[in-house]
Symmetry: C2
Amino acid sequence: MKTYKNISQSLLKSYSKLKQKKYRQSERRFLVEGVHLVEEVLNSDWEVEAIIINSKGFVKEVGQFGNWEAGNGVPMYECSEKDFNKLSDTVTSQGIVAVVKMKEYSAQNFWEQLPKHSILVALDEITDPGNVGTILRTCDWFDVDAAIVSDNSVDLFNPKVLRATMGAVFHFPILADLNLVSMLSHGKEHQFKIITTVLDSGNALNQFSFPDRSIIVLGNEARGVSESIKNLSDASITIPKYGKAESLNVAISCGIILNAARIVHH
Amino acid sequence: MKTYKNISQSLLKSYSKLKQKKYRQSERRFLVEGVHLVEEVLNSDWEVEAIIINSKGFVKEVGQFGNWEAGNGVPMYECSEKDFNKLSDTVTSQGIVAVVKMKEYSAQNFWEQLPKHSILVALDEITDPGNVGTILRTCDWFDVDAAIVSDNSVDLFNPKVLRATMGAVFHFPILADLNLVSMLSHGKEHQFKIITTVLDSGNALNQFSFPDRSIIVLGNEARGVSESIKNLSDASITIPKYGKAESLNVAISCGIILNAARIVHH
């Protein structure tokens, strides 16, 4: 059975800080936890700085990870269960965490590189980690060209968000922590139309023709799309309602809208 | 300011047992927590047995509830915060809980009463409370005629499920804790077609014509629809995939499918 280097207390301390948003933001790196997500990031073009395993819990369950070290040169460490818990966000951890460098997208190049026919999804103050993660997973399924997460939404690198993305975060460009009014204004300069989603009185989704370049804006769980964003809107859409529910969950709306948009765009 | 009867310790004890599934099942009643859900149940035709408020936390936040007692004759009690926590499932409670009798649907009458054009949704071993609740909320939006929750799915009256339904549970018939093979077999005797959802190689959703009487079956989060249910299937459908995500969240799938089904059915 393979053994790994013991992690030093100073390295452990610096990695454990990444559980807090402020350190993720200043150090531009974050933690990824669990077998599936660590596999996803290793199979992506994101840069993995280190992998840390719980010497007690890891080998037992996921022994097949032993060949990673040779394969891609990522330093692998082990530590005691007590130390591992300083890195872990889950109650029943799978005993594996990766330290990953954030991928930086330049807002300038970003717009230039998008194809003529593009669908983007923008998140306007979406605060529930499960919703943000599920929206990004859904965007990935429908192959949106990019997602934009506003600076007043939950942090993209929050462990609960990452978990709910099921790895989608490593599959397509996601620009996070941005001023959405400014980003959408840039989008409009690049011939994008801003399509806002509203609970009623918008264009009926199933008859709507999405423009060649569309940015679909999803709004806050309780208040919907904010006024400052509505001011930029070129069109609004509404998912037809038949029953009594007051609203649809925002991630559900995202799925329904993207499926409709793809019928047109493909 | 209005005051309410203090709840007796014996009543408190019997209500607090309803946090456990086994007591909900044997006593055929359950707890509903929070301002929105309690309002929903009071505005429905479900029978509310009692309302209990936290004497410390309730009046401050939701004083408008004081006129309920006169309005509908539901006994209202108050208790100390410590006692209230024996009923509450949430960390930051709104200080109001209702005790509600389960509505019993007869499986015989059930099939007879359904209109000629009906869409039903069946949940086959869906284990995440948030998923079950969000699916039912989505069913409510799209006005499905009824939902059927299998006995190996999470309990419908689990507080997390109820919260995620946003009240949908009180808006339309939901038959829970049932053997799904048996229920679907009865459905087939009543001219229902069983439409299962599969990750690939099913009929493309957006070209699919839903039969006049359809039961759409959603499967387990990890394993999909079970083999015993697939054996009853009349047709399978697949949501077209464009990107890299391995799967869609089951509640997202539900929303996309129901929107497509309604385009046909309305």
